[in-house]
């Protein structure tokens, strides 16, 4: 009976609150059941109070507050690109300053590659190609200077180099195979890394880092160029033949 009263109690509540009519059986039950009669009275009283409890104070207009929060969170796309570019510059700059020897080694590896085995040169961007006339002039001059220094220098005192690839090693062990190309490629600016992004800021800028090896006199130059759409990092090595250690001469 209690279970039946609970079920009818809910129907009674719906009847009081929303005017949903009871079926004939339920109506008969309520008329005869003391428990359900009490439920009907309680429902009426509680729901009278519920109307009061349901009152809500005037809501303030939140439109402008929400919209300002939404628009503040929306950053323009180029803002992210500019941030990424700046972070890349900082990281590369930091690496160059903090690890000068590894840069030198990388440059040594790069300059030891013959032209035929250095496809990165072919893929270098326009900015590298544009400097070719000047570069050839410097290369010819430096190659001449290098040959003169190499002729004077005993083999055992030569600066250690990174272990070359087998093909390179053959070419280097057998200088007759391509001596001129190797000499000509030694201080060609090498494109180490490039990044592109869309909607880049229109301004261009660049910065240059220079490091001189006290022992060999070799100068390593790293140039970072930021132009619309690209960050390009060039590395160049200029030999300092005149500054070779006394012991080696």
């Amino acid at each position: 009976m209690k279970r039946e009263c609970d079920r009818i109690g809910d129907a009674v509540w719906e009847y009081v609150r929303f005017g949903v009519e009871l079926c004939e059986d339920d109506r008969q039950h309520v008329a005869e059941c003391q428990e359900c009669e009490r439920i009907l009275a309680e429902s009426r009283r509680v729901q009278g109070l519920m109307k009061e409890v349901s009152r809500v104070p005037q809501a303030s207009d939140c439109t402008s507050a929400v919209m300002s929060r939404i628009t503040a969170r929306r950053r323009p796309v180029w803002g992210y690109a500019a941030t990424a570019a700046m972070m890349l510059l900082v990281i590369v700059g930091g690496l160059i300053f903090l690890r000068p020897h590894s840069v030198t080694q990388q440059i040594a590896r790069e300059v030891s590659k013959p032209v035929v085995t250095a496809p990165a040169h072919a893929a270098a961007p326009e900015v590298v190609q544009d400097q070719s006339a000047n570069r050839e002039r410097i290369e010819a001059k430096t190659a001449r200077r290098r040959s003169a220094v190499a002729a004077k220098r005993p083999r055992r005192n030569r600066r250690p180099q990174a272990r070359p690839a087998p093909q390179q090693r053959n070419e280097m062990e057998n200088p007759a195979s391509a001596p001129e190309q190797i000499a000509a490629s030694k201080h060609r600016p090498v494109m180490v890394a490039a990044a592109t992004w869309s909607n880049a800021p229109s301004q261009s800028s660049s910065c240059t880092y220079t490091e001189t090896n006290e022992t060999t006199g070799e100068t390593s130059i790293c140039k970072v160029e930021k132009s619309p759409g690209t960050v390009t990092i060039f590395m160049e090595s200029k030999p300092g033949g005149e500054k070779l250690p006394q012991k080696g001469i």
Binding site: D10, I39, E42, V56, P57, A59, C62, A65, M67
Partner: protein, 181 residues
Amino acid sequence: MSETCEKLVELAKGGNTVAFEQLIAIHQERVHALAYRILGNSDDASDIQQETFIRAWQSLRKFREDAAFSTWLHRITVNLCLSMKRRRDYGASEPLVEEMHAVVQGSVLCLERTEEITVLRRALAGLPDHHRVPLVLRDMEDRSYEEIAGILGCSVESVRSRLCRSRALLRERMRPYMEVR
């Protein structure tokens, strides 16, 4: 979902902030009312009101039109209210300003009524969330069983049984007070 609302939702999904602003204007009062009825605190209801629209904007792309936008929005509101309640120790809500006015007026009838309202408010606040929220949605906001099921993410049958239980609990908790009168 009305055609206007549907169009606004479509535009807002594409990032149109003006359309979303209009959606806020249409829905903000009901969102605030629902939050206030669940939490019983006006400041918190205003916070939830703002947060609801921020969350809605952030996840608008996930909204599928198989439910009404208002149902989806009110589901966010309910979830935010319940997590706020879990974070804080929510007791019985404070009496409304109108109730305080009634007390100041000094009428015995008003005072009795105010006491009864406070008792009911406490009884409601003491109900477990899974019983109280359907009661708020049905008996305070006049929502259909289907809509409540959509907001709570449960079946209509589950709504019916939870409502039956919450109404019985409420009557039970109000009974001692009513017998004294």
